[in-house]
């Protein structure tokens, strides 16, 4: 196992695993508290359109998919801000259109595309150094924005209408949250694939929520849990020659189930009144 650490692709996998864990811990928390999980699913699947574009035009995958997802996120934000009841419809629409568009583009691309499956289930072992630089830049950007506007983002997430009364530009921050989410989703797709990206964003967050008193605490906990699951999953996938994405997700899911069971066991027998 230890000699594995000398391979560049393993080193890259570990570094990117850590970077993506921090990103998904932060953004996953934002997505969960804003109840945007379905929305994130929509962006993840429509990102497939971006993958199609990158394969068809032979463009760098992370870059073209990011641009594509950002456009989708802006589109969703513009249409849904004023009438949230339309959100589900719009998500369903972008979800289907993005995926179909991507698959058709791949069909039209001459030659066989072995890479396709790797976008569905991720390929942490195929991460190269330029991917890592891209991830680092996005992580830096997210931390920077969050540091600058943490209070506004917290206010918008917790009590949007009150934030508005107090003069917070709620629409701007709603869009910023969506944009950060779409960029993070694109990066997470590289690691666990678009089918499992929602699990990576929500499972560590779900566990972290139980241990945290604040949104910031939740983000830190979620990042740490996510890091643990990713590295464990990576180890298992390497040792037993299994797909990395599903390994990571299964480790997280099992941990989540253990946490839930543990919680049920700790439940006091006497019913306590809230007041």
């Amino acid at each position: 196992m230890l000699e594995a650490l000398s391979y560049t692709f393993i080193q890259n996998a570990i570094i990117s695993g850590v970077l993506v864990s921090i990103i998904s811990g932060i953004i996953g928390s934002l997505i969960v508290v804003n109840r945007m999980v379905f929305l994130a699913g929509g962006i993840a699947h429509s990102a497939y359109g971006g993958i199609g574009v990158s394969i068809y035009f032979s463009l760098p995958m992370l870059l073209s998919t990011s641009v594509f997802s950002v456009i989708v996120a802006l589109f969703i934000s513009i249409i849904t801000y004023k009438n949230r009841q339309k959100l589900d419809t719009i998500i369903g629409l972008t979800w289907a259109i993005g995926m179909s568009f991507g698959i058709l583009l791949v069909d039209l691309t001459p030659g066989y595309n072995a890479d396709l499956i790797s976008y569905l289930f991720g390929s942490i072992l195929a991460v190269n150094s330029s991917d890592i630089i891209f991830m680092a830049i996005i992580l830096f950007l997210i931390i920077f924005i969050l540091g600058l506007f943490y209070r506004d983002i917290l206010a918008v997430s917790y009590d949007n209408s009150y934030a508005k009364i107090r003069g917070v530009k709620t629409r701007l921050f709603y869009t910023i949250i969506l944009l950060m989410a779409s960029l993070s989703i694109v990066i997470a797709i590289k690691i666990v694939g678009l089918i499992l990206v929602i699990a990576l964003l929500s499972i560590p967050t779900f566990i972290a929520e139980k241990f945290s008193d604040s949104l910031l605490g939740m983000m830190i906990h979620a990042s740490l849990f996510s890091m643990f699951f990713t590295l464990m999953g990576l180890g298992i996938s390497y040792t037993y020659d299994l797909s990395s994405g599903p390994s990571i997700i299964l480790i997280s899911s099992v941990s989540m189930i253990i946490v839930i069971i543990f919680q049920k066991l700790r439940k006091p027998k006497i019913f306590k009144k809230t007041n």
């Binding site: 209070r151 107090r166 306590k272």
Partner: protein, 257 residues
């Protein structure tokens, strides 16, 4: 009476969403240190009026002055308490952070909260008797189980949030809906206490509570009628201590002048 300042002065206010006016010819003043209640049926325009006072809706016709000045959205002169709701009870946020949401946008600093702000927030919590919850999450752990603040406690936190900027007017939109009777009374008692220093305007359905604590009432159903409750209170205390709400409503309806 004439020496009092006008905390809120509404003149010739008309408002419509579409074709029909929801508010017509509204004229009234809230004087400094009043405890005024806004009564009226659902859909009668109460919430619209509040939104106009807060500047959420744009004025169409007429004027609203707060302490003889046109209202500025960012000013902290009005502390606003929204209706108590059950949304986001599980949100990972500390009580103190909820309070500090009220910070004036211009004064917010980047990267966390200043010591001054925290002290001010704790002071606001003290005024509503919730200081022991300052550093807890709004749904806190108790015996290994996560518990939410009760409806009454949540409402106190929201009142504290409104008090954070040391406002001169406290405006509450049905603060005691969804809250049990005991907590209701306690909240009004707190408001009464706060009323010694600041003007209180409450939208409410709890007529008996209104009569007990408020000194003025306006009844809004598209148009407005104004009541000074002090004379009415006397009348009622002579009549019967247990006046039914229907009788009260009748009385308020009758003296619409």
């Amino acid at each position: 009476m004439q020496t009092y300042n006008n905390a809120i002065n509404i003149k010739d206010l008309f408002f419509k969403y579409e074709k029909e006016y929801v508010l017509e010819d509204i004229n009234f003043q809230v004087q400094e240190n009043d405890f005024l209640t806004i009564l009226g049926p659902n859909g009668g325009g109460k919430s619209t009026l509040v939104k106009l006072i807060l500047g959420i809706l744009k004025l169409q016709k007429g004027s609203i002055e707060i302490f003889n000045r046109p209202f500025l959205k960012e000013s902290l002169n009005i502390g606003y308490v929204p209706q108590s709701t059950d949304i986001n009870l599980d949100f990972p946020i500390k009580v103190l952070e909820v309070i500090m949401m009220a910070q004036n946008k211009q004064q917010t600093r980047y990267f966390g909260y200043s010591k001054d702000e925290k002290l001010q927030a704790i002071h606001a919590l003290e005024q509503v008797g919730m200081e022991e919850f300052a550093h807890r999450r709004i749904s806190f752990l108790s015996g290994g189980q996560r518990q939410s603040l009760s409806g009454g406690q949540r409402q106190r936190v929201l009142i504290a949030r409104a008090l954070f900027g040391k406002p001169k007017i406290l405006l509450l939109d049905e603060p005691t809906s969804n809250i049990d009777v005991v907590a209701c009374g306690e909240i009004y008692q707190t408001l009464k206490e706060l009323n010694k220093k600041i003007t209180v305007v409450v939208i409410s359905h709890d007529l008996s509570l209104v009569l007990k604590y408020a000194n003025k009432a306006v009844y809004i159903n598209k148009k407005l009628s104004y009541h000074d409750l002090s004379s009415m209170k006397q009348e009622f205390s002579n009549l019967n201590s247990n006046v039914s709400e229907i009788e009260l409503l009748q009385m308020l309806g009758q003296c619409r002048c």
